[in-house]
């Protein structure tokens, strides 16, 4: 440790969201049964490890990583879409220079994964994975194709609505988020246990992108806009109060 460590460190603190995230124990989603902790979570004070986090560099990014239609020699099958938005914190501040990772099915609803057995065709020109960094204003942009619905074994005739998986880091360990983005007007959403595991209907809506004709490019691609909101920070001195 350095000799000039100040006796008190000014650390941000991150609000603890209540009622936003799904419960870990959700009977509608069968796989939660043996995988959710049954004992109460222990309150972890937000100290140095929690208010910092990995700031991964752009050495992870290849030029074609944010354009999922350009990763092979030919063009993938399906409806080309532009997927853009901002990463913000809950106080409305942009989250700049943060890594976003996405993965999705192809247009036929098939993932390129060895344990995927859905008898829909693979597309030799589509892998379905992307990476991007947000810019100084928290903006991101992907070009991809509209993913398809696919069946899964949760219950009889179970189908997942079309979605894109998103992984985000934010600026701190507390802000880490893995989620899924859905498309407007999908009839499978009201009967999907994973979508509906989010208890608040308004919070569910926040997982649905908006179609945007202004973003849509004539003769080329439909535009969807989706903002992602991470936990906000209060730039206050670490408090010895109830949060400890």
């Amino acid at each position: 440790m350095t000799a000039d460590v100040p006796s008190r460190l000014a650390l941000p603190s991150y609000g603890r969201p209540r009622g936003v995230h799904p419960p870990l124990d959700y009977s509608g989603y069968r796989s939660t049964a043996l995988r959710h902790p049954k004992k109460p979570l222990v309150m972890l004070p937000q100290r140095l490890t929690e208010v910092t986090g990995p700031l991964l560099g752009d050495e992870l990014i290849m030029p074609t990583d944010s354009d999922l239609t350009m990763q092979h020699d030919g063009e993938p099958q399906g409806q080309r879409i532009i997927l853009t938005g901002r990463v913000l914190d809950s106080d409305g501040r942009p989250v700049p220079d943060t890594l976003i990772e996405i993965w999705q099915t192809n247009a036929a609803g098939r993932y390129r994964h060895s344990r995927e057995h859905h008898p829909a065709p693979l597309d030799p020109n589509f892998t379905g994975v992307g990476r991007a960094f947000t810019d100084a204003g928290g903006n991101y942009r992907f070009i991809t194709i509209q993913p398809g619905a696919y069946p899964w074994g949760n219950h009889y005739n179970a189908w997942r609505p079309a979605h894109v998986h998103f992984s985000l880091f934010g600026r701190a360990f507390t802000q880490r988020l893995v989620t899924q983005m859905y498309f407007p007007g999908d009839p499978l959403q009201p009967i999907d246990p994973i979508f509906n595991s989010v208890p608040d209907p308004k919070a569910r809506e926040r997982m649905i992108a908006q179609f945007d004709i202004g973003l849509t490019q004539p003769e080329w691609a439909l535009g969807y806009r989706w903002d992602i909101v991470l936990r906000g920070r209060d730039a206050t001195v670490f408090s010895g109060g109830a949060d400890r």
Partner: protein, 200 residues
């Protein structure tokens, strides 16, 4: 308003793993430690489709991050990534190669005015677990078995009232290759040996 969490699902391996993900430091780094473990469900089965992520201070107990108010690390760990990521294998196992972090000060200082407890945090890693069937990540911490004194004074470990569960947070030394240090940190999502998880 915050965007809700959703499960990472069974197919994250398409994107999230990368070749040096498990290597917080390159294998063979002086002082490197290897952390191995398995991820278990409530029936005692190993979980073959989980993802383990670790975040930690450098050996000086500092973070290469602007919100660490103490400034750059004195001994050249300025570019220390601090982050490890490893998917679990078909047998539920994972492996992270890193260096032991230093202890961390109480942000409130020595506590002369009663604000801080003055207790340093023992060396630890914050650990996130993602998997199909987990609608949100779960968070735990890994502490070190050769830090009995520091662990006893650690404010987070001290806050755990069920003494018999403390062991779930402390890695177990394993015989390893000469010159290396091998630690086992198994994670039980549920059951008699359920790991302590935190609300962060």
């Amino acid at each position: 308003m915050i965007t809700p969490s959703q499960t990472v699902g069974p197919f994250f391996a398409m994107r999230l793993p990368w070749p040096d993900g498990p290597f917080v430091v390159p294998e063979g780094t002086t002082g490197a430690i290897t952390i191995v473990g398995r991820l278990f469900d409530g029936a005692g089965n190993t979980i073959p489709d989980g993802l383990i992520e670790t975040w930690q201070a450098d050996p000086d107990g500092q973070f290469a991050h602007p919100d660490d108010p103490r400034g750059p690390s004195p001994s050249g760990y300025r570019s220390f990534r601090g982050f490890g990521r490893c998917p679990t294998a078909p047998d539920g196992s994972y492996r992270i190669v890193t260096v032991k972090p230093g202890p961390l000060p109480d942000p409130l200082g020595p506590g002369e005015d009663g604000a801080g407890d003055g207790a340093a945090e023992a060396p630890h890693l914050d650990v996130s677990v993602f998997a199909r069937g987990l609608l949100d990540r779960v968070v735990t911490r890994m502490y070190f078995p050769d830090e009995a004194e520091a662990n006893a004074a650690d404010p987070v470990l001290s806050s755990i009232t069920e003494q018999d569960r403390l062991a779930s947070l402390i890695a177990v030394p394993e015989p390893g290759p000469a010159g290396g240090s091998l630690l086992r940190f198994d994670i039980y999502l549920q059951g008699d040996r359920e790991t302590v998880f935190f609300d962060v």
